[in-house]
Symmetry: C2
Subunit: 689 residues, 2 copies
């Protein structure tokens, strides 16, 4: 536990000092602490089985293998991107749900990649050795990036596994992760969005909840269902109050070990810019959706994504604007620095260098953010930029390319670039209009980037023209352009390529500036701080989240919040009470399948529950397992307090929210008559194996 | 007409050169142009009758006297602020409408002031003379502000009329306006919001439309209905296609005569900041409203206001981001400057000075904007600031006070400060939390203003504490604090006063900085440019809008837009077609009164219409009259193109949108059985008068 509490904050946060904090590397589990708190210590084999049963959704989310035939469980909101892509105007799978009653009915996703982690290797020494001769942080940064690209390519060549070097402790360690990658993934079952996301934006990140936020995919290998060596068994009994549970998943990002100067940058520069962008785009999309029912359908996924990010970032900013959070961080930092000072290993210079890096970053953050948004928002602009950059990058040696185009990353880049996923003209025009106008708002109407982007037209006219005229909507054209190389590309007057080119050179310059002035000094000096921390705390520190596999543990328990006692479990019956209470309001509809089953569903079966395990965005879709490694739940959310968890964990308040395995089965049986799926989930493995 | 077209933009804008552009002073109507275009020339008496029949809503909007008994017609969305204040949890007048069938049932508004313009006097010479000895623009600004305060106080003392000096042509002229002021105003009739604002945010600023956006108040004087000498007669026939019409009202603000440097500031600094604030607050209020039905009711007015401003500012920014608008402005400016140069009266120095003023403004615009938002958003913070400032300002001579506290302005300030209007705790906490967090986001968490404002708490805790603990919710306390003076006030530890004080000194500093570095040079140099324009164009220039009475004229006519022909009129029957088309969607509900009357309403009666008259926000509630001065309509909106009208008028596209007088009567009869109201509207005046 790394919490060093001062008197000021001890009332609010005392509980944290003895709590279930930590997103642990599976290679370094806190065995003693677990044993002391719960009397249980996982074995190496148990952890390896968990590791190889877990799945990472490359679209951003977690999941797990739950049958011997490659069945994968995740959240509806993790799968919804694909469910949307598989929908058409006539077949709205988000609204109506989907249920393949036979393998033949399973729907293949256009561009979904799932990964299962096989091996982990510490490559810190090799990465740092590459930078040992460098004259300054920027040069060291270049050397490290090249070493990482080389390590990844080499590993991929030798093992055939997807290889990725993960930067841990902000630069304190580098681990090489090797994954099996699967790209033939098919949709098996999804409930209707109304019950998956019951309570809508209003109840999101709250508890009590009543959400069937699950869906099931199946991995295929060589055209046949994957025969999984490792997968999770289903628990008959579910979890009890106070029972120890584990969550294995891929928390996306935390900033718990940042210096207070760095956090100040996050609070005053980064989060306001991100939220400003989200608020804006939510309103732009609301205007678009208001124009017709079809627009509303098309905009649904984008709107959900923005709403979810808005709540998460709002929670983070609210946390940082609260002096109690910051006060705690100041105290923690001061206590560590005093200890480091006393041990003769004073990292003051590193703190100063990190503060300087924040000032440097603040000088161009908004500009970089705005320019990068265009290709984040617009699918076609993104495609055009990939085409342009592939043509520019491929002739270079792998280690000198932008990371997305290194040999190790190319297959994933191609998967998304050559995807046959539908592109909806009206939504795409909306997105590009909005993005171009955002650049004009952020940089000014006379900025050279704005002027080149707009080419003498209004954002709306420029966007409509580019979306309608581009040939890049056709995957084959993309491929032939990439293969044609620079000479061919120069001949093209495709307006979407012109938009990509208008952004490319400044975008690259700003990336280099970020790498040299911000990332490189941060890596160097966080590594020094991490070394000082290791010297004091040993390896009882966990690294900040990096969207790689972590273990977190805790117990099923309610909480007291603003004077209310919130129990750990809700029930299926509670769903209908909430429905009656908010009847007719946005986000509180129930699908016909549930209204019909209202009389037959067992109202007392647990539906959702909360537990103290320490999670964050990216953990969505993670399995909750008991000490036997059986599935007792499916994480789909954190409560409102967990959002501050990006910076600080408070066991009294932070809760992970999960669908109960029993509620899932009861709903699958009574609302969806999903016999085969239930049978597959409940099937016992061959214990002789 | 001031348009000087270049070839580049002549296609798009040729029509404007021969069009009905202009928001004219009633003291300087374009008689020749009107006569030439429509063969009609209003007499002085006709104009004076119009002037004295028109009403200004001090809350921001227009209206007109429409009966001998002081009946005032305006838009529902102009009156909705008051309709909301007259509502309670049990009596939701916004949702359900209101109809006083007898005078006794009319509801007195808590703090509504209406004004009727009586006299106009040109005081340009006196204002400028006061500044003639000044050594620099800032000093001249101070001298002019003092002269204006003196002129207003003197006029008020002598005439007993509310007196206000209006700055025209950005400083080219100063006119003294004298008003009768009425503060006993009662609500007579309001339809349900769903039909007043049918189509919601989606159809706002669009056409075709189907809105009964009207409501009626009555002015009382000495406890009895005002016996109005001037009021408008109702037209039996309504308006025909191509008929000449006039609109008299109070356009709020246009920026048509700004230099291109100044417009660039508006495009790149002002509008992005304003819109960013609006997007943010719309999302904050949506979160609040989602929590309960009562929250949704409380937030309705704020949400409508933000949504309306969002659409208006978005239209403006979209216009300025379109190179055609800006290209036109460049050409217009270049042509004028060439002519001025040729005539030996080159205003280059003034253009440069105005450009410098924009740079100066950009340096502190966002800071000033953020700090001022707190008292704009939070009713109680606004009240606290008034109390604090009154105590500080009242001991000074009137001409040295902040403008709101000059003798001439005090009565209006007191009306709002001592209003018994309800303050809703939950909404007020939401507003103040949002405002405090906005300051933290904009200035940074460690800025001294943020730190003082938050006093060591989170925005939410600080807001809840201040709203719950302040004594300023009681009007009597406000009064006694103001009367107690500085010594008494210093003793108070009211947290809302602490919030006001935390803002006050920097807010004053930034105001002074604005006056000295921006406003004063702008006034001085726009006056010089205006003089150069007068020298070339004579008095055929109209000044930019200033929320004072203007006349605009044109004809009833449709338009061609993106290949569609949009007819001038919609019908009552069209309302139900639109309802059927969008059934069940947000903003497309119809009230029971209309559903019931569906069979009896004459479907062919005109409901809404468009005309070319040149209007902008503030004109809402203006009467549309024919050449006989009879009411044929009620302006409630502009079409989407009219939003660019803040900078440029295009007769081919800009349209004012009005409720047809015939549709209003048919709906009052069939949906509301409002016999007495109809009889009062249709009553003929005694022609012997």
């Amino acid at each position: 536990m790394k919490k060093l509490l001062s008197l000021i904050v001890s009332c609010a946060l005392t509980a944290a000092a003895t709590a279930d904090e930590g997103m642990w590397l599976l290679t370094n589990p806190p065995l003693k602490a677990m044993k002391a708190a719960y009397g249980f210590e996982p074995s190496r084999e148990w952890l390896l089985h968990m590791q190889r049963s877990c799945v990472r959704f490359e679209t951003g989310g977690s999941g797990s293998l739950v049958s011997a035939d490659g069945l994968v469980m995740t959240n509806h909101h993790v799968g919804s991107d694909m469910i949307g892509k598989l929908s058409t105007k006539e077949r709205d799978l988000l609204k109506d749900g989907f249920h393949a009653r036979t393998r033949a009915e399973e729907l293949r996703c256009p561009d979904l990649e799932l990964r299962v982690l096989q091996e982990i290797e510490d490559v810190t020494a090799r990465v740092n050795a590459a930078a040992s001769e460098s004259k300054n942080p920027a040069e060291a940064g270049v050397a490290r990036r090249r070493a990482i690209a080389d390590i990844e390519s080499e590993s991929e060549r030798i093992t055939g596994l997807k290889s990725q070097v993960v930067t841990l402790y902000q630069g304190g360690a580098y681990h090489l992760y090797r994954y099996k990658s699967y790209t033939d993934v098919r949709l098996v079952f999804a409930p209707e969005q109304s019950i998956a996301f019951f309570g809508g934006d209003t109840d999101n990140f709250e508890f009590p909840r009543f959400n069937l936020d699950c869906c099931f995919f199946r991995i295929y290998e060589n055209g046949k269902p994957l025969q999984a060596e490792h997968y999770l068994r289903w628990s008959d009994a579910g979890a009890k109050e106070d029972e120890m549970i584990f969550i294995f998943g891929h928390p996306g990002s935390t900033r718990r070990s940042l210096t207070t100067d760095h956090l100040r940058f996050v609070r005053d520069v980064e989060l306001p810019a991100r939220l400003g962008f989200i608020w804006r785009n939510e309103m732009k999309l609301a205007e678009f959706a208001g124009k017709s029912k079809e627009n509303a359908r098309l905009a649904m996924e984008d709107r959900f994504g923005y709403a979810n990010s808005r709540k998460a970032f709002t929670g983070q900013l609210t946390g940082l604007q609260d002096i109690r959070t910051f006060g705690h961080k100041y105290d923690e930092e001061a206590a560590f620095r005093a200890k480091a000072e006393a041990s003769g290993n004073n990292p003051d210079e590193s703190y100063r260098a990190i503060a300087q890096a924040q000032e440097a970053h603040a000088a161009f953050y908004k500009r970089k953010f705005a320019i990068e948004r265009v290709t984040r928002i617009s699918q076609l602009a993104q495609i055009a930029l990939h085409v342009q950059r592939l043509v520019d990058e491929l002739p270079k040696p792998s280690s000198e390319r932008l990371p997305e185009y290194s040999d190790a990353a190319l297959a994933s880049t191609y998967l998304s670039l050559y995807s046959p996923e539908p592109i909806h003209e009206s939504l795409e025009i909306q997105r590009l209009t909005s993005a171009l106008a955002y650049v004009a708002e952020s940089l000014g109407g006379d900025d050279p980037v704005t002027v080149t982007l707009l080419a003498g037209k209004s954002p709306a006219d420029r966007a409509a023209e580019a979306v309608r005229a581009t040939l890049l909507r056709d995957e084959a054209v993309r491929k032939s352009m990439v293969e044609g190389g620079a000479a061919e590309l120069q001949k093209s007057n495709d307006p979407m390529l012109a938009i990509a080119r208008a952004l490319d050179s400044e975008s690259r310059e700003l990336l280099t500036r970020y790498q040299n002035e911000v990332e490189a000094p941060e890596r160097m000096h966080y590594a020094k701080i991490a070394a000082a921390k290791f010297a004091i705390h040993g390896d009882s520190e966990y690294p900040d989240a990096t969207f790689t596999l972590r273990m977190t543990y805790g117990k099923v328990t309610g909480l007291e919040d603003e004077g209310r006692n919130i129990p750990a479990f809700t029930t299926l019956g509670g769903t209908f009470s909430r429905f009656d209470e908010r009847k007719g309001e946005d986000g509180f509809e129930l699908p016909a399948s549930w209204m019909t089953a209202r009389g037959t569903l067992n109202a007392d079966v647990p539906f959702n529950f909360i537990c103290t395990a320490d999670i964050i965005g990216g953990n969505s879709g993670s399995p909750v397992v008991n000490t036997k490694g059986e599935v007792v739940g499916l994480v789909f959310d954190g409560n409102i307090h967990s959002l501050t968890g990006a910076f600080i964990y408070d066991a009294a308040k932070n809760r992970a929210v999960a669908v109960d395995s029993r509620g899932m089965i009861e709903a699958l049986r009574k609302c969806y008559d999903a016999k085969a799926l239930i049978e597959e989930l409940m099937r016992r493995p061959d214990l002789t194996k």
